[in-house]
Amino acid sequence: MKLTPQTELLSLLRDGMSIMAGGFLGCGGPERLIDLVIESGTQHHTIICNDTAFVDKSVGRLIVSGCAEKVITSHIGTNPETGRLLHDGKLTVELVPQGTLIERIRAGGSGLGGVLTPTGIGTVVEEGKQKVTIEGKEYLLELPLRADLALIKGAICDTLGNVYYKATARNFNPIMALAADVVIVEADEIVAQGAIQPELVMTPCVLVDYILKEEAA
């Protein structure tokens, strides 16, 4: 049974983890799982996320809590706290072009040794990276990215872990669900096994290890 109460999920957390979190400027961010990480009091994490959202939203709250040592992301401009911690030397920020970030995660979750992309050629992004020329065009070899833990937010999840996302809340979520050793899903609605039409399943249950169980208020 994957449905697990928050108190039991706490035991999955330890210091110094790499943690992927879905969401795009907070839309589709796993708010309750973020609470879990903060409540665990664990520290020194590497957070992998599209952006660091806002100080009071989604992964932005993780940054504010001070539990991150490093963040790998495409954008930090909407969260002044990320900039401040970076400036004070308390946080390392690795900026990655958004399309490269998602493909590195996809590669990490798909058994690929990396991806070749033209994005970043002629910029500081190419520093220290291998260049490969294919049919006369230069590409950067970008390496796969994986994590210990992925925190995924779905709209609907069945008790097996099949997930359906709504609108633009999908973003990084289904790709991150491929690329971590342990995948935890939180959803607005938990339904019975088989209640999601198979064609509408966007993250197949075989990728999901735990589903956050709502505790009675």
């Binding site: 400027l25 589709g28 401009g77 900026l95 399309g99 033209p118 609108a167 633009t168 973003n171």
Partner: protein, 221 residues
């Protein structure tokens, strides 16, 4: 001549809109570029993509009608038009890098006469990150830069960008409140100027070398 910032933005947005053709898949950056969608020519319908995973994006959601699951790439609640689709970020950037996006319109800090652009970082001062801009610059078939001609009186259109680049030689067209300039093999060609300015005035506010090729048209306002 003196144009205040709001008037400048309107002039730029209107002129950008004239570059967009019916049926094109278009990605508009946050801010000034997004304004262009308000000024499309009659009969021109473009398909707006937002890199967070939607095509046929509609206008911003009205107050009280916001859907927390549907935003644009700036996090603003928006709507979707009939025929639209949602997808994950991998597919979204496949559309972008794969040459499926016809036009992208982006703002900038600096742009130069070779089509280089710097719009993601001012080292030591402003470090927002590149987001999807580098992929859009590399992947879109046509790159239009929409920017005020100067910033605090200093030229933004340079011989050579001084800030770290976002992309190398990817810009096709630069549209400001004073001029329309095209990046070509022969250099930065001055195509149009605002009806109330002169070539000399535009040149004095531009660090880049401007190539004059035949007649320089008046910008339609």
């Amino acid at each position: 001549m003196n144009i205040d910032t709001d008037a400048a933005k309107t002039i730029i947005a209107r002129r950008v809109a004239k570059e967009l053709k019916d049926g094109q898949l278009v990605n508009l950056g946050i801010g000034l570029p997004t304004l262009a969608s308000n000024y499309l020519e009659p009969g021109v319908n473009v398909i707006l993509q937002s890199e967070n995973g939607v095509i046929f994006m509609g206008p911003e959601a009205e107050k009280g009608q916001e859907d927390p699951n549907l935003t644009n790439a700036g996090g603003i609640p928006v709507t979707i038009l009939p025929g639209g689709a949602y997808f994950d970020s991998s597919l979204s950037f496949a559309l972008i890098r794969g040459g499926h996006v016809d036009v992208t319109v982006l703002g900038t800090l600096e742009v130069d006469q070779e089509g280089n652009i710097a719009n993601w970082i001012i080292p030591g001062k402003l470090v927002p990150g590149m987001g999807g801009a580098m992929d859009l610059l590399c992947g879109a078939k046509k790159v239009i830069v929409a920017t005020t001609h100067t910033a605090k009186g200093r030229p933004k259109i340079l011989k050579r960008c001084s800030l770290p680049l976002s992309a190398q030689k990817e810009v096709d067209l630069i549209i400001t409140e004073l001029a329309v300039m095209e990046v070509t093999d022969k250099g930065l060609v001055l195509r149009e100027i605002h009806p109330d300015t002169t070539i000399e005035e535009v040149a004095s506010l531009t660090e880049a070398d401007l190539v004059i090729e035949g007649e320089v048209a008046k910008m339609p306002l």
